[in-house]
């Protein structure tokens, strides 16, 4: 009856709200910039206007890439499978570029354990959901490498499994690398004739590649909910008669070292009872029934239920006490 769960939806909202880390790529590779000057003058009584030669310069291709990550730290449980890190690759160069992708989990320095790359390990967010889901197509090197126009982005998902033996608070890193297929190197490294339409390509400030790791944080958090009830009948007793009121109390407690992000509580109103309007409370404070700024909502359809958002809970948050009342029909 009581459901307590945590969602990663908060992180998703943050991603959508944040501007993409893309820079103006500048004039497109291959553009021919032309310049012709004019001169006017008088000889005797006549005015003459003539033009110069046309001098031109061609814009070479800059190879640049930037990776960003939706949530740099993802909480996981020991032994969890299919855990995702959501990256965004942006072509910050000025041409259309194909990128090679590689994921690395074993040997990334600075962490406590090595996550295990799933097989395959890299997926496109094909259904554009912002997370790893059934419709997402796996990256197949040399077959479906991302081809990005200047300033274009693609969302990539790196999937890992978490070893069973890891401990609370342990961190494991997994790294994604995206490299321009034309070439990478120190900024300024030329690739003669290798750019769009045969223009020269030059490694940009990023060197033509990008590398970024995400981190799995082992957070073995559990949420427990204990529900109790008291019956008050209209005759001053405690008998469950039609018209009697049942006061419910549910205490939700987080334990363990991790965070339960965006914890939400919901409870169905029992059949043959009717929710008492305005009876919802969280930690003694009344909550309105409407879907509004406060944490509580009463939903009448399809099944009557009360919902309370509890936010991020940790072992230190203490018990969260939810109260509501119904009457027996």
């Amino acid at each position: 009856m009581v459901k307590a769960h945590w969602l990663s939806s908060l992180a998703v909202v943050a991603v959508l709200g944040a501007p993409l880390a893309s820079q103006a790529a500048g004039t497109a590779a291959g553009t021919n910039i032309q310049n012709t000057a004019q001169v006017s003058y008088t000889v005797g009584s006549s005015t003459v206007t003539t033009s110069s030669n046309t001098s031109s310069v061609t814009v070479a291709e800059i190879l640049d890439a930037v990776l960003t990550i939706a949530a740099p730290t993802v909480t996981v449980a020991p032994g969890a499978t299919g855990e995702e890190l959501v990256f965004t690759l942006t072509n910050t160069g000025n041409g259309t570029e194909t990128f090679n992708l590689t994921a690395l989990s074993a040997g990334v320095v600075g962490d406590d354990f090595d996550p295990t790359l799933a097989t395959p390990a890299i997926y496109f967010d094909t259904d554009n959901s912002g997370d790893f889901s059934g419709g997402d197509v796996a990256f197949n090197p040399g077959v479906n490498n991302p081809v990005l126009a200047a300033n274009a982005s693609v969302r990539l998902i790196v999937v890992n499994n978490i070893p069973a033996g890891v401990l609370n608070g342990n961190r494991g890193r997994s790294q994604l690398t995206a490299a321009a297929a034309t070439g990478t190197g120190a900024p300024g490294t030329p690739f003669v004739g290798a750019g769009d339409g045969g223009v020269d390509a030059v490694a940009g400030t990023t060197g033509g590649d990008a590398q970024l790791f995400g981190e799995y944080l082992v957070a073995d958090v559990q949420l427990t909910a204990v529900k109790s009830q008291t019956v008050v009948d209209q005759f001053g007793g405690a008998r469950p008669l039609p018209g009697a009121r049942i006061n419910y109390q549910v205490v939700v407690t987080a334990s363990g070292s991790g965070n339960a992000n965006a914890a939400a509580f919901s409870d169905l109103v029992p059949t043959n009872t009717t929710y008492v309007a305005g009876s919802l409370r969280l930690n003694g404070a009344a909550l309105s029934d409407g879907a509004d700024a406060d944490a509580g909502t009463f939903v009448s359809a399809p099944a009557p239920q009360v919902r309370v958002t509890l936010g991020n809970l940790t072992g230190g948050s203490g018990p969260q006490t939810i109260e509501f009342a119904v009457t027996i029909n």
Binding site: I33, A37, S40, Y41, V57, T58, A60, I62
Partner: protein
Amino acid sequence: MNGKKTVVAALLLTLTAGAYAADKACVELKTSAETEREVVEQGQKVKRLMPAGKVLPGDEVVWTITATNVCKTPTDNVAIANPVPEHMTYVSGSAIGSGADVAYSLDGKEFKDAGDLAIRAADGTSRAARADEYRAIRWTYKSAFAPGATAFVRYRALVN
């Protein structure tokens, strides 16, 4: 009869050639693109202008326009005009031209002193134009070009 015809034909040819010479530019204009690069000469790092073939967004191109009077008569009122090329932005304060007054334009038609250019907003207010909004530059020479005289003007623009 035959001899007369030849003379007429030769005369026509001379006239045509003469007209062409008068039409042909007395001031020849040459435009070139260069970029400034650091090179080592005799152990010293110096900046030199090198021909710009390929450029990258953000690069600075030095445009040089050279005017030469190739006629045997002086030319007066010499004015060189150059639109800032498409995909480029004029670099503030970079226009130079010895012996010439420099004016700028936002539309390529109306040229004014740098301080006199204004941009009018939709609500009727106006503000001074910024150098990166200049779309053309004009150099007007104060004195005539003697036969054989040459002069150059120069400005810098960034690749967008």
